[in-house]
Structures are given as structure tokens and as C-alpha cells.
Symmetry: C2
Subunit: 348 residues, 2 copies
């Protein structure tokens, strides 16, 4: 068996998370970035919320208002001719896309990696005008003593990637937008390579080209260049639809081991691996022929947006054990255990 799901799964569900305000409900606690800090495993959860009083005859989009600092709510009756419902996550109104929930980031802590205590309050709420649809899907890379958090910035101006840093998971410093629209699933490598920082990025082009993983490098984590395509979708395979970086690459003797996500033509999201050159991670050495993990458990197949296993972080132990934390069905947080050797065995 390539991966063993934790028998305690799901580890965190929306009901384990206190809403940020009394008139809101939590609809998702998933896609967490991972870090080890002060001997604890930290999950930086994406917590998706919406107003409790959503009516059955409406779609709604909670939108942060930068001018007032409050969250407003766009409510559209289902019979409005300008409304085009799409799926549980999004709808079109007057040809513009809106989200049915707004996400913030929140810490959950654990000593054993299984039992997590979720902070009572949000850790990072939307604050900038470019975050008015929320903050999502963080990846945490520790470089030196600094934790770099790449997060999905969502606003009416575009979906892109912001950077923030912390050294204590108490104070966080925003560093602005590091990849402009449309670019998501950005994961920084955990050390400099030949004097440069590296990241996996996922451009989302409108007209030409696949939605797949590219690389970029940077002298300072703020400014990025040398963009190159890297792990692109493979037609007809489990990752023939889209690919995106998931976990922070794991350094091995054989190369950087990246656990990435790939979706197929039915938008089923699996996890798989790619091995990248140690000295030049813009070169792929090998890629999984079959997924490492795909939606099988009930909570992965059904839920807010079913048929999704989507990781934003793993914890690697010195003995080669890898715990993959992942979002299931855009709703829950679960975990699965594997090893570097088992992941390597999936590579061509």
C-alpha cells in the first residue's frame, strides 16, 4: 500500500472550528500548510465561512470591504437572470465569478500529529484590498529561522499569490503579491539552490497553454524571474487536466521529491510525485506513472466539492516517514502516512 490513511481521519472538520463571528458558520477547514514549531506540528488551515442565514432561494458571496474593514455580503436570488450558478464553490453574476464562502487562515496545533487543537480565533484575516475574496491554501517553507508562507490571494482584481513571513507564528509580515494573476499553488523550496530561492508556480492562462506547474527563481523571495514550464498535465492520464505543486519539496540524495496534485478530465484530484534535479530544480528526473493517492475514502469522494485529495504540506521525519496532511473534498482535513521509499517507487 502506497499510503495508509490515518484511522482517526478526518482529523479536523468544520464543526471543530469556531466561526470568526457569531452570525457565520464554518463550511471548510482544509488545505493546510504545515510546519514544525516549538516541538509542535502546526497546521495553518484554510477556514472557509459564510453567513448562517443563507436562504435556500439565494446564492451569496461574502466580500471583505477594505474601506470599512467589514465583510459585506452579495446576495442574489436564484431567479435573477444575471445569476449563473456553477458549483458549490462559485457562481457567476453579471459574468463575474464570485465565491460562496470567504476564507481566512487559522492555526491548529498538535504534539502527536493526530490530535489537533484549533485556535479559537483566526490567525490571519483578509486585511488588504487585494484579499477581499479571502486567503487560501497556504504553503509554509522554513528557510533559516524564517517561515515563508505563500498563499492564494483572491479578490475581484484577480487570483494570485501573496507572501508573508513569520518567525513565531504570532506576528506575520505581508510581503505583497509575488506572482500576479492568475497564478496559484505556489510552493517555495526549503533552501537556496546555487544562491537563489526557487518556487513552483501554477499559471492559469486564458488563451493558450496548459494549467501546469512552472518554476521560477528569486534572489530575495520578493522578485521572481527565470520562469520555465516544469510538470505539465499528461493527456489521458490521472493528471491530464491540471497539475499544481502541493507539498514543499523534500530533499533526498536522488533529487528534490515533490508531491504534486493532478486532476483528470472529470476534475478528480489525485496526489503524485515528481523528482527534480538537486542542483537545477527546473529539470524533471522522473514522474509518477500512477497516482500516489486518489479519492477513495467516503470523506474524499463526497463533501463540499467531492472527489478531491489536495495537499498543501507534509511532515517528513528523519526515518524517512512522510505524513501527508491533505484537504478532502474541499471540506475536511485528513492525513496519510507513507515513506520516501514508497513515494520513490511510483516514479518511472
Amino acid at each position: 500500500m502506497l499510503v495508509e490513511r490515518f484511522p482517526e481521519n478526518p482529523l479536523i472538520t468544520p464543526k471543530d472550528v469556531k466561526p470568526s463571528r457569531s452570525d457565520y458558520q464554518v463550511v471548510g477547514a482544509f488545505n493546510a500548510g504545515t510546519a514544525i514549531y516549538n516541538d509542535e506540528i502546526i497546521l495553518l488551515l484554510r477556514v472557509a465561512e459564510r453567513p448562517v442565514d443563507k436562504k435556500d432561494d439565494e446564492e451569496l458571496a461574502p466580500i471583505y470591504n477594505h474601506a470599512t474593514g467589514q465583510i459585506d455580503c452579495l446576495r442574489i436570488k436564484l431567479d435573477d437572470p444575471d445569476l449563473e450558478p456553477l458549483d458549490s464553490r462559485v457562481f457567476h453574476y453579471k459574468k463575474k465569478l464570485y465565491l460562496t464562502s470567504i476564507s481566512h487562515l487559522r492555526i491548529a496545533r498538535s504534539k502527536d500529529g493526530v490530535n489537533f487543537i484549533v485556535d479559537e480565533k483566526p490567525t490571519i484575516l483578509p486585511e488588504k484590498d487585494y484579499e477581499n475574496f479571502g486567503l487560501e491554501d497556504p504553503r509554509i517553507s522554513k528557510i533559516g529561522d524564517t517561515y515563508y508562507i505563500c498563499y492564494k490571494v483572491v479578490s475581484d482584481k484577480g487570483v494570485c499569490t501573496g507572501l508573508m513571513t513569520t518567525s513565531d507564528f504570532k506576528s506575520f509580515e505581508r510581503k505583497g503579491i509575488i506572482f500576479c494573476p492568475e497564478n496559484i499553488d505556489v510552493v517555495m523550496f526549503p533552501e537556496k539552490i546555487d544562491g537563489m530561492f526557487y518556487a513552483l508556480t501554477r499559471p492559469v492562462p486564458m488563451l493558450i497553454g496548459p494549467r501546469g506547474v512552472w518554476t521560477a527563481s528569486s534572489p530575495d523571495t520578493i522578485n521572481w524571474g527565470r520562469h520555465k514550464p516544469l510538470i505539465l498535465p499528461r493527456e489521458g492520464m490521472f493528471d491530464g487536466g491540471k497539475t499544481g505543486g502541493s507539498c514543499v519539496p523534500i530533499k533526498t540524495e536522488d533529487g528534490w521529491l515533490e508531491i504534486y496534485h493532478g486532476s483528470d478530465e472529470n476534475d478528480k484530484y489525485s496526489l503524485a510525485a515528481a523528482l527534480l534535479d538537486l542542483k537545477d530544480p527546473s529539470k524533471v528526473i522522473a514522474r509518477s506513472k500512477e497516482p500516489l493517492m486518489y479519492p477513495q475514502a467516503n470523506y474524499e469522494v463526497k463533501g463540499f466539492y467531492g472527489n478531491v485529495v489536495f495537499s498543501c504540506g507534509a511532515i517528513t521525519k528523519d526515518n524517512g516517514e512522510v505524513i501527508i496532511y491533505y484537504g478532502a473534498s474541499d471540506e475536511l482535513t485528513a492525513a496519510a502516512k507513507t515513506t520516501i521509499d514508497k513515494i520513490m517507487s511510483t516514479l518511472k
Copy 2:
């Protein structure tokens, strides 16, 4: 009158340009970057070509083959069920977008700015795998003694922006992809501002957000960050569809004067102006209420892709005169004379 079209227009047409090979024909000579070098006005033209033997019952796409160094040609019969013709520029085949021509860059030279001699041979041909659909729409910014050329990189991997530099318009050095897909119409400012290089960019997001002008800054022209939205489309106006940077910003006492392009809901492309803060060009001081110039002349209204005036560069004289070189209908090169004062008069 805000602008005066040159009576000699069009200045350059496809028949003025020798094809790069005998079995090809030139279908467009347009969207030229501009520079002054050795007392000559240089236009770095986008030259679009396709095979002469295109049949009436087919669509074709010339594609550079990086492995062989040759241009291959994809030919699709019009009755192929996988073909979806779109417009004169592009078609869909098996749900992927292809271009009906392939572009290279070529120098045209003039002493008087009116009469141009087009080089016999291409200046810059597709050479990299990421250029296999061609090179397009260059903008040239002179900073110090170096000319920085931002050009549209088009390939099956995506549409994005590459950088090359030259100091003599003979040898050119490629600097890689500076903005990843999908990002076009990149224009660098002609000097550093507060120690940083600046550029206008035009993200093309798939899901959320307008197709409008953003800014970015860079310590070194290779790595870019601090992305911010800047000159976005204005609903219901002449630039309500898309906006993009056109000319290299002109430094004035009142701010950076940018001649940008905007399209409306019918994809009619006009030129207009924005004034940006001298010390912080991520701030807009004013914008044209009405276009500076819109398709009126016969060669602007009709042609390969009609209803387009699209500039990639202007020449500013010490007396405040501005010559805007522009592509008309994605086919020809024309010019129009105006002044900084007249452009300023369009600003709110």
C-alpha cells in the same frame, strides 16, 4: 484635433517586407517597438508570415520546431470536426488555440521618421522552445546605454513576456521569461525610480479579474515583484473591455505619461493616456475620459483584424512633439503626430 495622421500613411505594409523564406508570404508588418539609435529612428516590426500555398479549404498554423530549427506547418481541413475557426488570427483545433501566422521581429530604419527602409532579413527569429508560435509586439526602453526589449513570447506552453537586450541593434541577448503566462503588453519605464526598475504588465486571468494594466518593479530587470493593479478597464467606456500598456512612459514634470490601449466590448482598440506619479508609478493621477485616437482611417477600420489602432512605441522630441507609431488592423504600420500638451488635455 488631438492627433494628426501622417498623410503618407500607411508607412509600411506587408508588401514592403521580404518574406523570411521564398515559400512564405508576409501578412502583417505592424506593432513595432521604437528606438532612436545612431541618429536613425528604428522600428522593430512584428512581421507575421504564413506559407504561400495555403489552400482555401484549410486552416493552417506555422509552428517553429525547436528540435530541427525548422518551421513545421499544421494543416487542418475546414470540414475537420475538431476544427473551430475563430477569426483571421486564430483557430481552435482539438480545443487548443493555434495562430494562423508566425511572427518574427525585423528592423526598419528611417532618417525622417516617415520613409522607412525595412531590413532584407529577419532581425530576431523564433529560436527557443518557448517561442514556437513566434515573437510579437516588442517594446523598447533605453536605460543607460542598453536597450531593453520586452516582447510577447508565444508558444503552446503559454503566452507570456520575454526580455532581450541590445546595445547596437545587431546582437541581441535573450534574458529568459520575465513574466509567466498569461501576461502580455509589458512596457519597462525608461529609467530607474527610487533604485528600482518598473514595468507595466497585462495579466490575462482565466477565472477572476479584468484584463487590465498592473505594475511591477525589479532590482535587476530579470526578477519582478510588488505586483499591483493600475489602469483597469472602465465599464461602459471606450476601454471597458481590456487595457494594456502601449508606449514607453514619457517623463514629464507632472508625472509619467503613458499612452495605453483600451478595447471596448466590440473589441475596438483605441489609444488613450494615463498620468502616473513620478516617484511612485503604481499610483494613477489622471486618465483620459475620451480616447486620444480610435480607428477612423480606412486602413484602421478594415484589414487583417479590423478596428484596431495599437501602438508599441512613440518618439518624443525635445519640443514636446510626440510621434505615435502604431499598428493598424493587425496588418500595417502607420503614424500620427501629437504633442504632450494635447495628450495632457485628454486627462480628467
